[in-house]
């Protein structure tokens, strides 16, 4: 099953349950009027676009309507699709790569957003592309976090560099960088502990991990990926902003897009921050990851 089908079927499941989906508010051939625009706004809100973004998009639709560019409900979908998709140019979605030596990818996010699972999925994804992958278990804080990543490394068949629980995550990162270079790994994926963006000391700790990596491997980290939970609401924007203030966030992984939430927050985030979405998580299994494709995302969002 391709991403599109997967997304569509995942979204389709809830589609039936949600009273007002785009399908029902935008019946074919309905003439555009303010009531219809209100319905579009409400639907966007229910998809977690947030009031500011929904306002902006509906305004754009209204302008096009007033200008006579669009007239009927189905035009709205086409119009919005173009509008939203244009925000994520393809070039921004590739993973950065080191010129020589290991490419270091730091993975961060709030508690339970899906970091460790995403690290495992990425490891599997990259390994399948023929890359030699190693994992760094820098979550030394949460109970059994090291064990969790160890189990994933076993299932993927990739190396893991770890210390005991309670160890200094900076020290783990340090060792992991040395090991990655020594073992000639192509990719080093660094899992970190979940932390709320409001916990200043923990955010500084994350920054310290980044600095350790920077020192050990010139040009690293090549990517800092922020894992966001697709079910989260407007707070995700604050998360993205705060993490960006402490580490050089270069991309987003939108996890749990297989749930009943539609992940509309990333549209709002794109509105306010220049951080591209790189991957989406679509389940708990190792294969449940896909590169982000805005066409498909928007398509699925508006799918009937």
């Amino acid at each position: 099953m391709g991403l599109f089908d997967k997304l569509k079927s995942a979204l389709g499941k809830t589609r039936d349950k949600v009273v007002s989906s785009f399908k029902t508010v935008l019946p074919f051939g309905r003439k555009i009027d303010e009531d219809l625009l209100d319905d579009v706004y409400d639907t966007m809100i229910q998809d977690d676009f947030g009031p500011a973004t929904a306002d902006r998009l509906v305004d754009a639709v209204r302008t096009a309507w007033k200008a006579g560019d669009i007239a009927e409900s189905q035009d709205i979908i086409t119009h919005l699709k173009q509008h939203i998709v244009a925000q994520w140019p393809p070039a921004h979605r590739d993973l950065a790569k080191a010129d020589t030596g290991p490419t270091v990818i730091l993975v961060a996010g709030i508690n339970g957003s899906g970091k460790t699972t995403s690290v495992a999925k990425l490891a599997n994804y990259l390994k399948k592309q023929g890359k030699k992958v190693a994992l760094a278990a820098c979550d030394t804080y949460r109970a059994a976090a090291v064990l969790q990543l160890t189990e994933w490394s076993r299932r993927c068949g990739v190396d893991i560099i770890k210390h005991d629980q309670g160890a200094d995550p900076g020290a783990v990162a340090y060792d992991a960088c040395e090991a990655a270079v020594a073992r000639k790994a192509d990719i080093l994926l660094v899992d970190t502990a979940g932390r709320l963006h409001t916990q200043d000391n923990l955010m500084r700790e994350l920054n310290k991990i980044q600095r350790v990596v920077e020192k050990k491997i010139p040009g690293a980290p090549h990517e800092v990926l922020l894992v966001l939970d697709a079910t989260s609401g407007q707070n995700a924007i604050t998360q993205a902003r705060s993490f960006s203030e402490h580490v050089t966030v270069s991309g987003i992984i939108l996890a749990k897009l297989d749930g009943s939430a539609k992940g509309g927050i990333i549209v709002g985030i794109r509105d306010q921050l220049d951080v591209p979405v790189k991957f989406v998580g679509l389940g708990e299994q190792i294969d449940d990851i896909e590169p982000f494709d805005p066409e498909t995302f928007v398509e699925a969002l508006f799918a009937e």
Binding site: I110, A144, L147, Q165, D229, S232, G233, N235, K256, S260
Partner: protein
């Protein structure tokens, strides 16, 4: 966490204050802003709509136009509605007599179930209840280990069956062991699942059928967006929830989910998780949460008090007097006694929105003895002196001091204070909220620097500090 919403509402009401009276148009305009603020806070759209309608109706129905400060009455209406939306709630766990109380925990992936299970075990521990944790998350790698580590930290037994695939069996066995071991509370940790995952939802429904839990709690991330309501609805359909526990409340989330869940799913928020440590589980109190949302200090109780004690007409008269600046010492003392009785100036100033935070370190007390002394001083004045304290020369002051048994200094201090306060009130009567806040702080600083004064004294060590009994007395009097 609610800061941003608070700021928004503050802005909204500040703007409103500038306009003086509340009209239907005002209310609708204000409510449009409130609506956006609530949506930004992730309150569910349906809830926002009905909330806005409810408040608008109430505001238009109430006699807000006549009152002293219409925006304060609006705040109170919004506040009451918020409390309505979230409560009433009994956050205690109804323990079962003579057998283990069985608690089933359910929720989406990553919502914080395992940690919350351990927090509940700690909660039991603190109440001298023997608890046991059951590791029924058989899906996520190392989930069992995680619960075992937490159990060990607490010294609470964990029932786990490694290599098992059947969560129903594990739970049933766990409960059986708990019964034999005379455990008071069994807490079942389950795997995270999507509410639209039929297979896994059936599994947890089967667990529920097999062990008949006394309490079923949904663990929900406080940062969840509009989907919170769908999730809660779906879980409730399959499990008949007894309550919801919201986690990660120590973040800066505005926590709209809290507003939505109760009003749509009709299930109470039982606890909120406010930190990663195992003792960071708080009982949920709607009233506290509402004032936290509004973040407007004690303004609500100020309005309540003012409504009880100063009727609308009198308030209007007073407001007019304040504006003209011809408040008399009689009015002054009467008002102080009514509104402030037993309260410190700090408390009083805290009631002015926005001032609370700035007032933290000052300790200015006005005690009951002083109110009595002030009354005595004022009653020794002639009617003319009461309205125009500038008449009070040295000899008049000595006379009043003798007549009231106070020091001459006290008399002078009261007069000075009164003139200051009268000017302040006159100025404040025509001010917007922001200016009032500034003014309030300036005033407080002035009073602090003002040296010996009978009232509004700035003290590092108050002469008389109300003990707990006094405070209770004061509270009782206020609530009457």
């Amino acid at each position: 966490m609610f800061d941003a919403l608070t700021d928004r509402l503050n802005d909204v009401f500040r703007n409103m204050r500038g306009r003086g009276k509340i009209t239907e148009d005002n209310v609708r305009e204000v409510m449009r802003d409130v609506r956006t603020a609530l949506l930004e806070a992730d309150v569910h759209l349906d809830v926002v709509k009905s909330f806005v309608k409810e408040v608008t109706d109430k505001a238009l129905g109430a006699e807000v136009v006549k009152t002293l400060h219409p925006e304060q009455v609006m705040v109170k209406i919004v506040n009451d509605e918020l409390i309505n939306l979230m409560g009433p709630i009994d956050s205690r766990i109804p323990w079962v007599a003579g057998g283990p109380t069985i608690i089933l925990m359910a929720g989406l992936q990553g919502s914080g179930k395992t940690t919350t299970c351990a927090k509940l075990a700690k909660y039991c521990l603190d109440r001298d209840k023997k608890s046991m944790l059951v590791a029924a998350d058989l899906k996520r790698p190392a989930a069992i280990d995680q619960l075992e580590v937490l159990g060990e930290q607490l010294g609470v037994p964990v029932h786990a069956e490694r290599g098992h695939k059947n969560a129903v069996k594990v739970c049933r066995n766990g409960v059986g062991i708990a019964q034999k071991k005379l455990i008071d509370v069994v807490i079942l940790d389950t795997a995270g699942r999507l509410s639209i995952d039929d297979e896994l939802m059936t599994e947890i429904a089967n667990v529920s059928r097999a062990v008949s839990p006394h309490q079923i709690y949904l663990v929900l991330d406080a940062m969840t967006g509009q989907d919170a309501v769908n999730t809660a609805k779906n879980f409730n359909e399959r499990l008949e929830l007894d309550g919801v526990i919201l986690t990660k409340f120590d973040s800066d989330t505005r926590g709209g989910a809290i507003l939505s869940v109760k009003s749509i799913v009709h299930k109470p928020i039982k606890f909120i998780g406010v930190g990663e440590k195992l003792d960071r589980l708080d009982e949920f109190h709607p009233d506290r949460m509402a004032s936290r949302i509004l973040g407007m200090g004690d303004i609500v109780s100020l309005v309540e008090q003012a409504q009880q004690q100063v009727d609308v007409e009198e308030a209007a008269k007073l407001e007019a007097k304040m504006k003209k600046g011809d408040l008399s010492l009689d009015d002054f003392v009467k008002q102080m006694d009514k509104v402030m009785g037993g309260r410190s100036l700090k408390d009083m100033l805290k009631m002015i929105p926005g001032v609370g935070g700035m007032m933290r370190d000052t300790d200015m007390k006005i005690d009951e003895g002083e109110i009595t002394r002030m009354k005595a001083i004022v009653s020794s004045m002639t009617p003319k002196e009461k309205t125009d304290p500038k008449l009070l020369n040295a000899s008049r002051r000595r006379r009043i001091a003798r007549g009231s048994g106070a020091d001459v200094e006290d008399v002078s201090g009261l007069c000075k204070q009164f003139i200051q306060a009268r000017d302040m009130m006159k100025a404040m009567a025509g001010m917007g909220m922001r200016d009032r806040m500034k003014f309030g702080t300036q005033f407080a600083q002035q009073s602090m620097a003002g040296g010996k004064m009978p009232s509004f004294k700035a003290k590092t060590k108050p002469k008389f500090k109300p003990g707990r009994k006094d405070r209770r007395k004061a509270r009782k009097r206020r609530s009457r």
